[in-house]
Assembly symmetry: C2
DNA sequence: CGGTATCCAGTTCGATACTG
DNA sequence: CAGTATCGAACTGGATACCG
């Protein structure tokens, strides 16, 4: 199975979204998953995300949000109030992904310690 | 929902595998998914992977394989023949992940062009 | 065949400070 | 509240060459 389909006509826009590996590079990036899961259940605000996605810096949150918005996975809504209020909502496309992301995090959760242990073993074998 | 469970005792080994975001950082890295999908259906050899995972360099293939082996997702078997033969096999833990990874790649496949289009729109709006 | 070694450009990311 | 700006350290990843 090829992840980057080459059996497509040359004229399409494959050059822009070479695809699966590229797309997953964004969607699967360290912070994207957390943000997408968070945003899947209704709109979230910037500060909510900052608290919910533990360990993320303000800078990375901003950058990741911009990328997700650019990819059409989040919509950004600004309410011109004082103080300003900005909400991020998952698009339909992103919500389709939700179930898979939950499976992914659940898998990671279940095997967290097994992975940490495997690393210990490996590192001891290759001091 | 917190992706990085903080409601665990302080004494556990969370420090090592802070977890979901860390684990996903590896599993979801650009090349890991392709390699894992490839290895899920029986053993694969180094050169097979080099051909199957399009665009990967020899160096990155080696590095990614080492990481996956370290994480306990792949086992590496060396046959002391001439020329040497090395096989990589997905562990049970990795095979559990297979279905999810297929969903993920399938989603990426379906929305590839929509994402590319969203980027175009976004970029035009923010020249 | 299945790697390793080296170099180096580019990218990522945290820390910190500032703003409408 | 929701960002932006800037800097430097660290990591990533490609190219190339060599090896048992």
């Amino acid at each position: 199975m090829s992840l980057c389909n080459s059996d497509v006509t040359v004229q399409d826009e494959r050059a822009r979204a070479c695809t699966v590996s590229e797309v997953l590079g964004r969607v699967g990036s360290k912070w994207s998953i957390g943000i997408l899961v968070e945003a899947a259940n209704g709109p979230v605000r910037f500060t909510e995300l900052e608290r919910a996605v533990e360990g993320i810096s303000r800078r990375m949150l901003t950058l990741t949000l911009r990328n997700l918005e650019r990819d059409g996975l989040l919509t950004r809504t600004v309410y011109p109030t004082v103080p300003p209020k900005v909400e991020y909502t998952a698009t339909e496309m992103a919500r389709e992904l939700y179930g898979t992301l939950v499976q992914l995090t659940s898998w990671a959760e279940r095997h967290r310690t097994a992975i940490a242990h495997a690393q210990d073993v490996y590192d001891r074998a290759n001091q």
